[in-house]
């Protein structure tokens, strides 16, 4: 059976999304991307330097990948919308990851402003993937505003702490009828597998790959982990129980 994830009309067979920040150089970044087999890469428009030619970040991204520019640096909906339009204008396609951060201490996303930006940009024809703090009601509003997928954080960005928001993310996976891409906080391949086992449709990993001692090998490890987690999910994980199931002490009398 072909296991395909469709976002914005695009069929993806790899469920690992990657980021471009924090790498020691662009060449290494490009190699890591190839090793990850990922098909979607997020790029901060703020880092794109059209004048830099071969030194520009876009130069080393494999051409087969779908670009998902992000609005990093936006502090409100208006700034996010402006950045998204600029990204489209410079030819980065019509996918946009909305990132609105009005908190520079923890870099937590602002769900309200993100929803506003989602609505404006979805109406303009963008494929909108909002990055958000896992909150069911906010996710529903983003869905209603036209989001193509929802990207809840697993833990504060760059924290490498794993899926600390597990219960909240699980509720979103169960309740939101859009692809859920767990973004931020994933520090180890096993945590990416964990997110996939939970039923997430994809994960986005940047810091854990870019700051590894060997980013290329780490990208490969994440590819395997995401695949393993997905297969685990699809094959139906056995239910977890803390009590023995061999007998039925309370209902055994029913025969």
């Amino acid at each position: 059976m072909r296991d395909v994830l469709t976002i914005g009309g695009k069929e993806l067979t790899n469920r690992l999304f990657v980021g471009t920040g924090k790498f020691a150089d662009h060449k290494q970044m490009g190699e890591a991307m190839r090793a990850s087999n990922s098909e979607v890469v997020t790029v901060a428009l703020r880092r794109v330097d059209m004048d830099a030619k071969e030194e520009d970040i876009l130069h080393d991204i494999p051409k087969t990948m779908t670009l998902m520019p992000n609005t990093s640096g936006a502090r409100n909906a208006e700034e996010a919308v402006r950045i998204a339009r600029l990204a489209k204008a410079v030819g980065m396609g019509n996918w946009i990851k909305i990132e609105v951060i009005s908190d520079h201490k923890y870099l937590l996303p602002d769900n309200e402003e993100t929803t506003k930006a989602t609505e404006i940009l979805a109406n303009e024809g963008f494929v909108v993937l909002p990055y958000m703090s896992p909150d069911l009601m906010a996710a529903k509003r983003m869905r209603d505003a036209g989001a193509a997928a929802i990207m809840p954080l697993g833990a504060p960005i760059g924290s490498n702490k794993g899926i600390r928001m597990k219960e909240m993310v699980q509720i979103m996976i169960d309740e939101i009828d859009l692809p859920i891409v767990v973004d931020a906080g994933i520090g180890k391949p096993s945590e990416a597998a964990e997110a996939m086992e939970m039923g997430a449709d994809a994960v986005l990993v940047n810091t854990a790959i870019a700051t590894a001692a060997n980013p290329v090998e780490m990208a490969r490890a994440f590819d395997y982990a995401v695949k393993a987690g997905r297969i685990g999910y699809l094959s139906g994980l056995g239910p977890v129980s803390t009590t023995a199931k061999s007998s039925s002490p309370l209902t055994g009398f029913l025969g």
């Binding site: 662009h26 428009l45 880092r47 794109v48 830099a52 640096g73 402006r82 009005s102 201490k105 810091t207």
Partner: protein, 367 residues
């Protein structure tokens, strides 16, 4: 509420006694923690913490890698004018220093911009002496109209302005504000700032806050190391940065570590701040404020700057000229201070790459 209230709470503390009472065990406890309090930060600045510099450095390196990655932002200063109405004992631009003053014409601003942009630099900081006549908001606005064509991020380090003026400059494309308090000791401040509007300690102290209220994306604070006891100065600088970060969450707060350099006047540093001291101050701030930007200027020697790169620095300047018109016409007039590291942008890029860092020339987009 202003940082001044916090400042008055701490300024008369018996710092010497308090720093001396910190023990190695206190420092070890702080090094085990994920989130540091003001008290923890204080302990990292103590003499006792000097025995733990390697541990602090390891932790600072890890945190910086985690939050900023293997990257270094490059920027250049652009001096617009050296006219100044202040008399300050330590500064070459001081009103009573007799030298031919200069303010760039708009055509000259463009000439400088072309040279800087030609080096591949996209982030600049505009500097001037304090003169409402020469570096007026109107003049700055005209300059910005030209500079916007060449740069993607423009910060200012000019005389303190009021909130409305900052709002206007923000609309014209300025996104960052640097203002160093110079010294957080009010008596020394009054002594070294002999005459002129800069004498107003409180107005300067509240300047970053006015910038945040005006919408600036980034603020940069710092003390001129060498003016007073560095542990205390560093502590209050950290409190200032932390106050701004907590109150203006939407603003990026950074800290610089300018150390006194020789200059044309006869004023020399009051306190000798050693390399070891500067490193301790820098590591302590990184552990206290893991996401704060840290800038290290070309005042420091190439050898020392190279060693500082993995310790928490996130921004560096290169090929800097501290002379008005210094990029398009080398060999002209008076510099604000002598730089020690005159390596070119290409040399700094090569150095960063050899250390496993990606030089970042563009990290913002005028929107």
């Amino acid at each position: 509420m202003s940082f001044y209230h916090k400042f008055t709470e701490v300024k008369d503390l018996p710092f010497d006694v308090m720093f001396a009472s910190v023990t190695g065990r206190d420092v070890e406890r702080v090094l085990q923690k994920d989130r540091l309090t003001e008290q923890d930060y204080f302990m990292l600045l103590s003499p006792a913490a000097e025995s733990y510099l390697e541990e602090m450095a390891q932790k600072a390196h890890k945190l910086t890698l985690q939050h900023f990655g293997r990257t270094m932002q490059l920027y250049l200063p652009l001096y617009l004018s050296d006219y100044c109405v202040n008399i300050c004992k330590y500064c070459s631009f001081s009103f009573n220093n007799d030298f031919p003053r200069r303010r760039l014409t708009i055509e000259e601003v463009e000439r400088e911009a072309k040279v800087i942009a030609g080096m591949g630099i996209k982030h600049i900081i505009l500097l001037s002496g304090e003169s409402k006549q020469h570096s007026s908001v109107e003049y700055l606005k005209k300059s910005l109209e030209v500079l916007k064509k060449y740069f993607s991020s423009i910060a200012i380090e000019i005389q303190p302005l009021n909130k409305e003026e900052y709002e206007e400059l923000f609309r014209y494309g300025v996104d960052g504000l640097t203002v160093y308090q110079e010294v957080y000791n009010e008596e020394i401040y009054r002594d070294i700032h002999v005459a002129g509007p800069k004498k107003d300690f409180r107005y300067r102290l509240d300047t970053p806050e006015r910038g945040a209220q005006a919408g600036m994306r980034s603020l940069n604070v710092g003390a001129l190391l060498g003016m007073d006891e560095w542990r205390k100065e560093s502590y209050i600088t950290g409190l200032h940065a932390s106050y701004l970060q907590n109150k203006y969450l939407e603003t990026e707060v950074g800290v610089s570590f300018p150390r006194m350099r020789p200059h044309a006047g006869s004023f020399q540093p009051k306190v000798n701040v050693t390399d070891k001291n500067l490193v301790q101050a820098m590591l302590a701030i990184r552990l206290f404020l893991p996401r704060a930007g840290i800038t290290i200027s070309t005042r420091e020697t190439p050898e020392f700057r190279d060693q500082l790169i993995p310790l928490g620095v996130t921004k560096m300047s290169a090929a800097s000229s501290t002379v008005v018109g210094g990029y398009s016409e080398p060999d002209v007039t008076q510099s604000q201070f002598e730089i020690s590291d005159d390596r070119s942008v290409e040399e700094i890029k090569r150095l960063l790459k050899s250390k496993g860092y990606q030089p970042v020339v563009k990290d913002w987009q005028l929107i």
